[in-house]
Amino acid sequence: MADAPGMPEPISRLIEAFHRLPGIGPKSAQRLSYHVLRMPEDQAAALATAIMDVKRRIVLCSICMNITETDPCRYCQDSRRDRTVVCVVEQALDILAMERTGFRGLYHVLHGVLNPMDGIGPEEIRVRELVERLKSGEVKEIIMATNPSLEGEATAMYVQRLVGPAGVRVTRLARGLPSGADLEYTDDVTLARAIEGRQEI
């Protein structure tokens, strides 16, 4: 599709590049490419620079594996944060969600979850770095904030078994009903846990 006869080479290359992005089909790739072609040059240059900056200026925080421009990242540098609690998340975006809750401890980004069938084991995610971090003894609690899916639960249990003997308290985010949920459609496991975790009002 990109190599339609008569298509100038730079355009077909751009179409190819867009096509490789997730969720972009051949038609969308063509549309985006022609849009870029009609853009003012400064806009196109800004797009290109933004893409390059992401690749050149973003690094992984050497402490928590968060994506950052400075190493250590702003969370790890912030002395007002509780350094005894580490919230373990699947991806860097989850930190933003946790920040909105008012959580003010530290983080650790795994960059994935265990997915045994797809061959994603502990070596493929940032578990080893977490274990290393605990050696200083400063961290007293790990909050496993992986998704409540089969893979997320397996990851949480794996980490718990791995670091449990080190004397660190490992906790898991509570599971229950999301706001706006319908009881009648709720799955049995969620409902059962919601009952177990019920609270007095």
Binding site: G23, L114, P116, M117, S149, L162, T190
Partner: protein, 264 residues
């Protein structure tokens, strides 16, 4: 498409999930009457999805599915068995994921295998009930047999001769145990002890519960685990990804040691 929309009902176990786009997922189901098939659930990753919890991998559910042009679409799902005890225990999760991967890799699309379905439920039920993890060995033996790779454990797989009471080679290429005389041309394998051979024979027609009740010590458990893994690797001509995970979990602290896997 002028085709009238058609829906059908079935029940099955979710084997795996692949996320597609922003909020959709494709699930591989092993169904009682349809065998293995893929279907898509639209918007299932949104917080308000009605089907989300009912489509978790390793859940047994009832589905209402609409025929789609390329992929069928889940329209309703309701849990029959959530296998909660399995998903809340790392060792049991690992065994169950391993079995799900075996079913996924060894069966073809839309080939009915109610016997495989029954076997998978037996395994999940046994793990849920807290039975010994070595029930997976029975699962492996029976799955191979249902799918036409029955292990020859009675006589020599090469010459058909009687097997004396001693260690014998389980040779994947020969499809079973081979006697000492046939070992040379058998393509190699792993030695199985007389006790191991008895367990393999018992696994052919024992019930899950009977098999779970066997006392299998760490050494024997490991012997059978490795030998059957060899056979499965030969049949699939590749590694089972989740098999590596089972071993990684077994190596964790506060668990069975590596030699102690699959033991009561």
């Amino acid at each position: 498409m002028p085709d009238r929309p058609r829906t059908y009902k079935t029940e099955g176990v979710i084997l795996r999930r692949r996320n597609i786009g922003e909020a959709d997922s494709i699930f591989t189901v092993f169904s009682e009457d349809l065998g293995k098939f893929d279907a898509i659930a639209k918007g299932v990753r949104k917080a308000r999805s009605h089907m989300r919890g009912h489509l978790e991998p390793l859940t047994r559910s009832r589905f209402l599915i609409a025929q789609g042009r390329s992929l069928d679409v889940f329209t309703q799902a309701e849990t029959i068995a959530p296998y909660r005890a399995v998903r809340e225990d790392l060792d049991r999760s690992a065994e169950a994921i391993y079995c799900a991967e075996l079913v996924d890799r060894l069966t073809g699309e839309r080939q009915e295998h109610s016997d495989v379905y029954r076997l998978l439920l037996d395994e999940l039920d046994a793990l849920e009930a807290g039975h010994a993890l070595h029930v997976t060995r029975l699962f492996e033996v029976r799955l191979l047999s249902i799918l036409g790779f029955e292990l020859q454990v009675e006589g020599c797989a090469a010459c058909g001769g009687r097997l004396a009471e001693q260690d014998h080679l389980l040779a994947p290429a020969a499809g079973g145990l081979v006697c000492p005389a046939c070992r040379g041309g058998s393509g190699g394998g792993r030695l199985i002890s007389p006790r191991g051979i008895k367990v393999l024979r018992f696994a052919r027609d024992a019930s899950m519960e009977q098999f779970a009740g066997l006392r299998i010590d760490p050494e024997l458990g490991r012997e059978l685990h490795l030998a059957l893994a060899d056979v499965i690797r030969a049949v699939l001509e590749r590694e089972v990804n989740a098999g590596r995970f089972v071993d990684q979990v077994a190596r964790l602290p506060a668990s069975r040691s590596l030699t102690g896997e699959h033991v009561q």
